[in-house]
């Protein structure tokens, strides 16, 4: 017997423990069941695209730190790739290797947060989150050593990186690489086979491959649905074609798969760093680029595989020192498109973990 009940609206957010920032979900609930959901955002809108139009090409780099603030290095790199493409700058080889090391370390750091926050949303009371934060802290230490800051690195420059790695960087990185696989195994032991987690996440929030492509999902969300698409392999930027790594994919596209996908990607990143570390050549780290870059009129779109998905910068130049238009393709925002289809019919608790498994940063959604 079905009892007729009245749906009610629950505003989750803007201040809610698991919306990962100032993000609001206007959920229509029928009891505990989610009938409909409408994401509402814009609370963190700073108009970065407009600000970029008034800054020099170099001056935009600090702004990109503030897009997806837990993976600043990737944002720096994406923007610099776009500027280099626009202005035709050639990057020295050592700089490329440093960039790859940094980008992959950043991927590990960001995915650790993504996985930790997802497990925290599942209700594992901060334990996995804090364990993963510990490893992230080790990575952030390395970043601090190279760039001088712990969150907004501002390390990449058009034509290379701002300064060479300090000499104590490589021994520290080597130590980190030695200990990281052990910790990864520990995380897997902690919750990977946990019956409750499997019951909570397996089969929940399924995103099929067709739907994922149609919704322009990218990154781990797309690959967990079984689409073998990684910008590093499909459209190699920087020097990713020099490295030997796999693109792991999962089959069903549920929350558990997205979680496992991220863990697998961290392992692949470790492989890339290992290779880059061994092959790191010496030489200059920055091409001879004037501080005020004045690219020829034209447009360029450069993209890379950020921890959250395909991050791209679409730059239009009118031969001035500031970009005429700077559009950012935010993976967080576009991955959210599929959220509504994924959560309908699930419970409030599932809404939270499905949302957590997409892994967003509000700084990137709102820009």
């Amino acid at each position: 017997m079905a009892v007729k009940t009245e749906p009610f609206v629950l505003n989750m957010g803007p201040v809610h423990p698991s919306t990962h920032g100032v993000f609001r979900m206007r959920a229509t609930l029928d009891g505990e069941v989610v009938v409909d959901i409408e994401p509402v955002f814009g609370y963190l809108h700073r108009g970065i695209e407009k600000l970029a139009e008034q800054r020099t090409y170099t001056g935009v780099i600090p702004l990109t730190d503030r897009l997806d603030y837990i993976s600043s290095m990737s944002n720096n790199l994406a923007y610099c790739l776009a500027v280099e493409k626009l202005a035709g700058i050639k990057v020295p080889e050592r700089a490329e290797y440093i960039r790859v090391i940094m980008a992959e370390l950043q991927r590990i750091a960001a995915l650790l947060i993504a996985v930790g926050a997802f497990l925290n949303d599942c209700g594992a009371y901060f334990t996995p989150f804090l364990y993963m934060f510990r490893e992230r802290e080790r990575i952030v230490d390395l970043f601090e050593m190279a760039s001088g800051q712990r969150l907004t690195y501002n390390y990449m420059r058009a034509g290379g990186v701002s300064q060479d790695l300090p000499e104590e960087f490589m021994p520290a990185l080597r130590k980190f690489m030695d200990m990281m696989p052990r910790y990864m195994d520990e995380y897997d032991r902690l919750l990977m086979q946990n019956e409750i987690l499997i019951a909570r996440a397996k089969g929940v929030g399924i995103l099929t491959a067709e739907q994922a492509i149609n919704c322009s999902a990218s990154g781990p969300v797309l690959r967990a649905s079984g689409v073998k698409w990684d910008v590093r392999k499909a459209d190699p930027y920087s020097i990713y074609d020099h490295f030997d790594f796999d693109v792991p994919i999962q089959q069903t596209g549920d929350c558990y798969d997205r979680y496992r996908q991220r863990v697998e990607e961290m392992r692949q990143s470790l492989r890339i760093i290992q290779q880059a570390m061994e092959q790191l050549p010496s030489g200059p780290v920055k091409a001879e680029v004037p501080h005020l870059i004045r690219p020829p009129a034209g447009e360029a779109y450069a993209r890379l595989e950020a921890p959250k998905g395909e991050l791209g910068f679409y730059l239009v130049s009118d031969n001035a020192i500031a970009p005429y238009r700077c559009h950012i393709r935010p993976p967080s925002l576009i991955n959210l498109t599929a959220l509504r289809d994924m959560v309908r019919g699930w419970k409030v608790a599932d809404l939270i973990i499905i949302f957590g498994s997409i892994d967003i940063t509000v700084g990137e959604i709102d820009r």
């Binding site: 809108h45 149609n214 499909a234 679409y314 238009r325 576009i334």
Partner: protein, 146 residues
């Protein structure tokens, strides 16, 4: 490596199907007339050999006399991409057809363009401001917005 499709070749194919739909084509871009946008988009998505099933991004650029809406399409199957542009002249209440029906990924991005450029997309299920609040005056990413 993702192959960038030649705009000229694709334009020839489109012209066979929909005469007069391509306004301009060059090596890497294809400018489509706004009236034909949906037909061309469907053609690009469904034609054998093109199958541009992945919409990387949609954005707009303000060139004072016209708005240019840029679509970057890729194909997961063939690993190639194509930049499609649409121009809309005139600054008062510009309207373009929405491609949400073809690529659902355009949903939030078209709302964003509406929010920041004021280009209204017809056929979009939920055309309202996305970042800014409803009573906001003006469209910030237009060049004349101070």
């Amino acid at each position: 490596m993702t192959v960038s499709l030649s705009g000229k070749e694709v334009a020839r194919k489109i012209e066979e199907q929909f005469p007069g739909s391509v306004a301009e084509s060059s090596q890497d871009t294809l400018v489509v007339r706004a009236d034909f946008l949906l037909d061309v988009a469907r053609f690009l998505r469904d034609t054998e050999g093109l199958e541009l099933d992945f919409l990387n991004f949609v954005t707009a650029v303000d060139y004072y006399d016209h708005f240019e809406v840029v679509y970057l399409l890729s194909s997961m199957k063939h690993n190639h991409s194509l930049t499609v542009k649409v121009r809309r002249y005139g600054r008062e209440n510009p309207v373009l057809p929405s491609v949400v029906g073809l690529w659902q990924g355009a949903d939030f991005q078209e709302r964003e363009i509406f929010d920041l450029f004021g280009i209204r997309f017809e056929g979009h299920p939920d055309m309202k401001r996305i970042f800014l609040w409803d009573g906001f005056q003006g469209y910030p990413l237009r060049k004349d917005f101070v």
